[in-house]
C-alpha cells in the first residue's frame, strides 16, 4: 500500500506519444514504467512509409527514438503487456500489469531470428495490415525494440496439434518455453500518462466501399506498408490481387468521417495530408501512373502543408476531385469507382486498378476500458476528454493523470509530440516540488479524497 509520494510515472502506450513523454520524463531524472500492448514499441509511426511534408523516411527518424527508449536506464519497459488495474490517487497509484506469455525466454533470447526463419507457419500479419505475412513466431519488424519474438498460440502448430517444435529445435540458446504463463507485475507510481493512440474505422463497416471484401481496395495504413522500404513489397506499389503495379489509383478521403448519419461525425484531421503524400509517393514509384483523390475539403492547415498539396496537384499532376464516392465495386480485373464531381456537377466513373481508402480515425477500444479503470470521462465517440479543451489540454479531471497524443482526438505527428511533451512537463512539475511541499500537497489531496 501507499508509502508516500512516488516520483515515478506510468505511461500507457509506447507509440510516438508515449515514447516522447517517457524520454522527456526519464531525461529529467525520473523513473518511467512504460507499458505497451504490442510485442515492440513504435506504435503507428513504425508502420508509416515517409512523412509529410518533408518525405523523411518514418522508420529512419523513429529508430533513434526506439533505441533510446529501449536502452534508457530510467525506463522500465513492459511490452506485450496490458495495464489491468490502477488504484490510488495522485502520488500513490498501485498499478497491476499483465504480461502476456511470449513462450520465449527473453532474457536468454539473443534476437538472432533463426526461429522465425525455421517456423513453417505463415500467417497474415496485423502489422502489415494483411498485405504481408509473418510466421507463427514473430517480431513486428527486424528493427523491433525489443527485438525478441513471441509465439502466436492460435497459429502455432505445436499449440494447436501438439507437434512441430521447430523453433525449439533450432533455437541456439534454448530460449523457447512452451510452458510460460502470463505474469502479473505490480508497480507503484505517482502519476499516469495515457497515450493509447488511435485505430482506423474498419473497411468491413463500409459496404459502399466494398466492405473489405474487394482485394484491391485497401486502407491507408495498408498502403503505407506497400510504400514502406521495409514493408512486404520493399516499397513497390503492387496490388494485392495479382501483384501488378496499378496504372490508375483512386484515393477516397473522409471514408467514414464527417458522416454523422452513417458513420463518424468528426473530421479525422490527418487524412488530407497523408493522402496527398501517398499520391505523391505513388507517382514516384509508378512514373506513368495516374492518381485521383476524392475529397470534400482539402484540409492542409499546418506549416508547409498547403504548399505540399499544391505541389501534389501542380507538379505531381495528382487529380483532385471534389465530391463523394457513392460506390466501389469489382468488375473484371478493375475496381469501379462511382462518384460525383461537385464542382462540375457531373457524375464521375473511374475504372481503377486499385483504391486506397482513408478511413476515419477512431479511438482504440482499449482506451474505453482504461477510461473506465481510471475514472476518466469520454466523449460520445470514445475520445478521452481533457480537463478543459482550451486551457488544460493535457490534464484530466483526475489529478496526477494526464493524456498524450491521439487518445484525445486525431492529431498529426508534430502535434502529438508537442502534446506528449506537454503531458511530460506536468509530470515533471509534479515531481520537482520540494519533498516537504509535495508531502503537504499530497496530504491535502488525501484528505479531500
Amino acid at each position: 500500500m501507499g508509502q508516500g509520494f512516488t516520483s515515478r510515472v506510468l505511461i500507457i502506450g509506447a507509440g510516438i506519444a508515449g515514447m516522447q513523454a517517457a524520454l522527456d520524463v526519464a531525461n529529467a531524472g525520473y523513473d518511467v514504467v512504460l507499458v505497451e500492448r504490442a510485442p515492440s514499441i513504435g506504435g503507428r509511426m513504425a508502420q508509416l512509409s515517409e512523412t509529410f511534408p518533408t518525405l523523411d523516411c518514418a522508420q529512419c527518424i523513429l529508430t533513434p527514438r526506439t533505441v533510446e527508449v529501449g536502452h534508457h536506464e530510467r525506463i522500465a519497459l513492459y511490452t506485450y503487456a496490458e495495464v489491468i488495474g490502477v488504484e490510488g490517487e495522485i502520488g500513490d497509484f498501485q498499478v497491476r500489469i499483465r504480461r502476456h506469455a511470449t513462450y520465449v525466454d527473453w532474457d536468454a533470447c539473443t534476437g538472432c531470428g533463426l526461429c522465425q526463419e525455421k517456423c513453417p507457419t505463415r500467417v497474415s500479419a496485423e502489422f502489415e495490415r494483411d498485405v504481408g505475412e509473418r510466421k507463427a513466431i514473430y517480431t513486428l519488424s527486424p528493427q523491433a525494440v525489443p527485438n525478441k519474438p513471441v509465439i502466436d498460440r492460435e497459429h502455432c502448430i505445436f499449440f494447436q496439434r501438439g507437434k512441430c517444435k521447430a523453433c525449439e529445435r533450432f533455437c541456439p540458446v534454448g530460449a523457447i518455453d512452451y510452458e510460460q504463463e502470463d505474469s502479473i507485475i505490480e508497480e507503484q507510481v505517482g502519476a499516469v500518462i495515457v497515450a493509447t493512440g488511435y485505430d482506423l474505422y474498419p473497411l468491413t463497416r463500409m459496404p459502399e466501399y466494398g466492405g473489405g471484401k474487394t482485394p484491391d481496395v485497401i486502407d491507408a495504413l495498408a498502403f503505407e506498408r506497400l510504400l514502406s522500404a521495409s514493408g512486404p513489397t520493399a516499397g513497390k506499389v503492387l496490388r494485392p490481387s495479382d501483384g501488378r503495379a496499378p496504372r490508375e489509383i483512386v484515393f477516397i478521403q473522409c471514408a467514414g468521417s464527417r458522416d454523422p448519419e452513417k458513420h463518424m461525425p468528426h473530421c479525422s484531421k490527418i487524412c488530407c495530408m497523408y493522402t496527398a503524400k501517398q499520391a505523391m509517393l505513388y507517382r514516384h514509384r509508378v512514373h506513368d501512373g495516374q492518381a485521383y483523390i476524392f475529397y470534400i475539403d482539402i484540409r492542409a492547415a499546418g506549416k508547409r502543408y498547403d504548399e505540399f498539396t499544391q505541389h501534389a496537384m501542380e507538379d505531381e499532376r495528382v487529380v483532385y476531385l471534389r465530391g463523394k464516392v457513392s460506390r466501389v465495386f469489382r468488375q473484371d480485373d478493375k475496381v469501379m469507382v462511382w462518384g460525383a464531381d461537385t464542382l462540375s456537377g457531373q457524375k464521375v466513373e473511374i475504372a481503377a486498378d486499385m483504391v486506397v481508402v482513408a478511413p476515419a480515425v477512431i479511438p482504440r477500444p482499449q482506451t474505453t476500458i482504461l477510461a473506465g479503470m481510471l475514472g476518466l470521462p469520454l466523449d460520445p465517440q470514445g475520445w478521452l476528454l481533457p480537463r478543459d479543451t482550451n486551457m488544460r489540454p493535457v490534464e484530466t479531471v483526475r489529478p496526477g493523470i494526464f493524456v498524450a497524443g491521439t487518445g484525445v482526438g486525431p492529431m498529426d505527428i508534430p502535434e502529438t509530440v508537442a502534446h506528449a511533451s506537454g503531458a511530460a512537463s506536468h509530470v515533471l512539475k509534479l515531481f520537482s516540488h520540494s519533498c516537504s511541499e509535495r508531502e503537504e500537497e499530497w496530504q491535502l489531496v488525501k484528505e479531500r479524497v
Binding site: A28, T63, V67, H71, P260, R299, R304, E307, P393
Partner: protein, 571 residues
C-alpha cells in the same frame, strides 16, 4: 598498431538493395588496420549493437567504423553502445553509405558499391588517428527567459516557476494576455470562460519566482545553452520617459511571441483601410466582446454580414502562401455570435476549403450552417466596393460556377496570421532561425516541434506557426518539458570535438575571430594569442581553414587525418 572494426549495415534493402554489402565486407577485411569486418541487416537493432559490443571486447578494438545511415540518425546510438563495451565513444565514426551512396546512386549499383568501399576506407583512416576524448562539461544557470506574455508565454512561465525555477517573463505590451485577451469567446462550446485567462495572469503576476517585465523587450543576448546573458530594456514612464536596461543570466529561452494579422491595407481590392465597414477579424472580436455589433461608419447594426476567409492566405503569388489554420474555426464562431446577437441578420461566409479539423470542430461548423443558418459560399471574393452607404461584394461561387454580386452592410476579413513584428530582429539576436514565412523554425518538423535548431532556445505557440488555443497551450507545456529537462542536469555535456589552438604557432593575427560565425573565437586580452570558447564552438572548421600558421586545428579532424582520408580515395 590499429585494431579497427568495420560494421556494414544493410538498412533492410535501403543500402543492401543497391550496394553489394558482402563485397564491401571482403574489401574492408583486407584493408590495413582492419581486424574485423561484418555486415548485418539492421546495425541499429539490439542484435546489431550487441555484435559491435561483443567484437570490441573480443578483438580489443581501438576504433570502430559503422557504415550505415547519416550520423544525424544513429551516431549517438553507436557511440553509446561502444562506450558501454569500454571503447572511447569518440573513436567511433559513421561512414554514411545510405544518404550519400545507396540512395543517390540506386541506378548504378556497381559504382555505388565502389563508392561505399572507398567511403568506408576513408573513415577507417580518420578513426586510425582519432584520439580518445572526454566530453566537456558546462555549468547551467537554472533560470528561464520567456519572451511574450500571451497564453503561450504565460503557460510556459507558470509551469517552469511551479516546478521551482525562476523565470524572467518579458512582454512588449502594457498588459499580459496577448491575443486571447482580445477575443470575445473561445470557440467550440463557447467556453468563454475568460476567468481562466485572468486567473492565469493573476497567478503569474503574483508568483514569487516570476520576474515580470511589461513594456519591455530583449535587446541583447550573448552566450549559449545553459549560460545566456540577456539584456532586457524597459520603457519607464514618468520623468523623461526613459529606458532602463537590465542584464539577466538565464540558462534557457522560450520564444512565445505569437502572431499578428496581416494588415488590411495590403488588400486594396477589398477596400482594406479605405472602406470603414470592411473590418478585420480582431476588430469584429472587439465588437462581440463589447456586446454591440455595429457598422463603424454609422453605428447601425448590420443586417447582412459577409466574412471573407483566406484574406491574404493561400495566395503564393501576391500575399502569403500558407493556410493560416485558425480562421475557419473563428469565422464559424463569429458568425454564430452575430446570429445570436442580431437574430434577424444574415451571415455569409466565403471560403476555399472549410478546415475544421479535430474533435468537435467539424460538428461546430455544421452547427453554424444548420442551426444558425450561416450561408457558406465556396469561392473567392474578387473585390469589394462601396455603394450608396452599403458594400457590394463581387465574387464567384465555384460550386454553381456563377459570378455573383451581393450587398452587405459589413464585411469581415479573416486576414492571414503573420509573425509578430520584430520576429526577424529577435531571430538574429537569438540565432534562432526563421522559416520562409518568417515564423520561428523548429529543430525537426516531425519529432522536435518545440525546439529551435539553436540549443537552449525553445518555441511555444503561434511564434512557430499559427495555432489554436488548445494546441498553443499544449505546445507551451511541451516547451516547458524541454526546459525542465535541461535544468534537471547538474551540468551539461558538450562535444569535445572543437577547435584548439597550438599556442606555439599562434601569432594572434585574429583571422579566426573574423571568420567564426558563432562568436566562439576571441583574442586573448593581453597575450598575442587567439582563444576558443569551447561551449560556443560548433566545430565548423572555418577558423582552422583561415589560420595561416596552422595553429588552429579541430580535435579529431587534424590536417593529418584529412590528408589520410583523402589518400584513401582513388583519383
Amino acid at each position: 598498431m590499429a585494431c579497427i572494426g568495420v560494421f556494414v549495415c544493410h538498412c533492410g534493402l535501403n543500402i543492401a538493395g543497391t550496394v553489394d554489402v558482402e563485397r564491401v565486407v571482403e574489401a574492408l577485411q583486407a584493408y590495413p588496420g582492419v581486424v574485423f569486418a561484418a555486415d548485418y541487416k539492421y546495425m541499429c537493432s539490439d542484435p546489431g549493437q550487441e555484435l559491435i559490443q561483443r567484437t570490441i571486447e573480443a578483438h580489443a578494438l581501438d576504433g570502430v567504423v559503422v557504415a550505415a545511415c547519416s550520423p544525424a540518425m544513429h551516431e549517438t546510438t553507436f557511440r553509446k553502445a561502444a562506450a558501454a563495451a569500454g571503447l572511447n565513444p569518440y573513436q567511433v565514426e559513421i561512414a554514411n553509405i545510405r544518404e550519400q551512396v545507396s540512395w543517390p546512386h540506386q541506378n548504378v549499383p556497381e559504382e555505388a558499391t565502389r563508392k561505399a568501399i572507398e567511403t568506408i576506407q576513408s573513415i577507417v583512416e580518420k578513426v586510425r588517428y582519432d584520439e580518445p576524448l572526454s566530453p566537456l562539461s558546462l555549468p547551467i544557470v537554472k533560470r528561464a527567459l520567456v519572451v511574450g506574455g500571451g497564453i503561450a508565454g504565460l503557460t510556459a512561465a507558470l509551469s517552469i516557476a511551479e516546478a521551482g525555477y525562476p523565470v524572467v517573463l518579458v512582454e512588449r505590451a502594457e498588459h499580459l494576455g496577448g491575443r486571447v485577451d482580445q477575443l470575445s469567446d473561445l470557440y467550440l462550446n463557447f467556453d468563454g470562460d475568460r476567468a481562466f485567462l485572468q486567473e492565469r495572469i493573476d497567478v503569474v503576476t503574483e508568483h514569487p519566482l516570476i520576474d515580470l517585465l511589461t513594456q519591455a523587450e530583449v535587446t541583447g543576448l550573448e552566450g549559449y545553452v545553459g549560460n545566456f546573458t540577456a539584456d532586457v530594456t524597459r520603457r519607464v514612464a514618468g520623468e523623461g520617459d526613459g529606458e532602463q536596461s537590465t542584464r539577466y543570466d538565464v540558462g534557457a529561452i522560450v520564444l512565445a511571441t505569437g502572431f499578428e494579422l496581416y494588415a488590411k491595407v495590403n488588400l486594396p481590392e477589398y477596400g482594406g483601410g479605405r472602406l470603414p465597414d470592411v473590418v478585420d477579424s480582431l476588430q469584429f472580436e472587439e465588437m462581440v466582446r463589447r456586446g454591440e455589433i455595429v457598422r463603424p461608419s454609422d453605428g447601425r447594426a448590420p443586417r447582412e454580414v459577409v466574412w471573407v476567409q483566406c484574406a491574404g492566405s493561400r495566395d503564393p503569388e501576391r500575399h502569403r502562401s500558407y493556410c493560416s489554420k485558425i480562421c475557419c474555426m473563428y469565422v464559424a464562431k463569429q458568425a454564430i455570435a452575430y446570429r445570436e446577437m442580431v437574430p434577424e441578420g444574415q451571415a455569409y461566409v466565403f471560403y476555399i476549403d472549410i478546415r475544421s479539423q479535430g474533435r468537435g470542430y467539424d460538428e461546430f461548423v455544421q452547427q453554424a450552417m444548420e442551426e444558425f443558418g450561416v450561408v457558406y459560399l465556396r469561392g473567392k471574393v474578387s473585390k469589394i466596393i462601396g455603394q450608396d452607404g452599403r458594400l457590394e461584394v463581387w465574387g464567384s461561387d465555384t460550386l454553381s460556377g456563377r459570378a455573383m454580386r451581393m450587398g452587405a452592410d459589413l464585411v469581415v476579413l479573416a486576414m492571414a496570421a503573420t509573425p509578430s513584428a520584430g520576429s526577424d530582429d529577435l531571430s538574429r539576436l537569438m540565432h534562432a532561425a526563421v522559416d520562409e514565412s518568417g515564423f520561428f523554425a523548429e529543430a525537426h518538423p516531425k519529432l522536435r516541434p518545440v525546439e529551435s535548431p539553436t540549443a537552449g532556445v525553445y518555441l511555444a505557440g503561434a511564434a512557430q506557426f499559427p495555432k489554436d488555443i488548445p494546441e498553443t497551450v499544449a505546445q507551451a507545456s511541451g516547451a516547458t518539458a524541454k526546459v525542465l529537462q535541461l535544468f534537471a542536469q547538474e551540468e551539461m555535456a558538450a562535444a569535445p570535438t572543437v577547435a584548439v589552438v597550438d599556442e606555439k604557432l599562434c601569432s594572434g593575427c585574429g583571422r579566426c575571430v573574423e571568420v567564426c560565425p558563432y562568436d566562439a573565437r576571441e583574442l586573448h586580452p593581453w597575450r598575442a594569442l587567439a582563444t576558443v570558447n569551447a561551449a560556443l564552438c560548433q566545430s565548423c572548421g572555418a577558423c582552422a581553414v583561415a589560420c595561416p600558421n596552422k595553429a588552429t586545428r579541430m580535435r579529431n579532424m587534424s590536417p593529418g587525418q584529412i590528408l589520410a582520408m583523402v589518400e584513401a580515395l582513388s583519383w
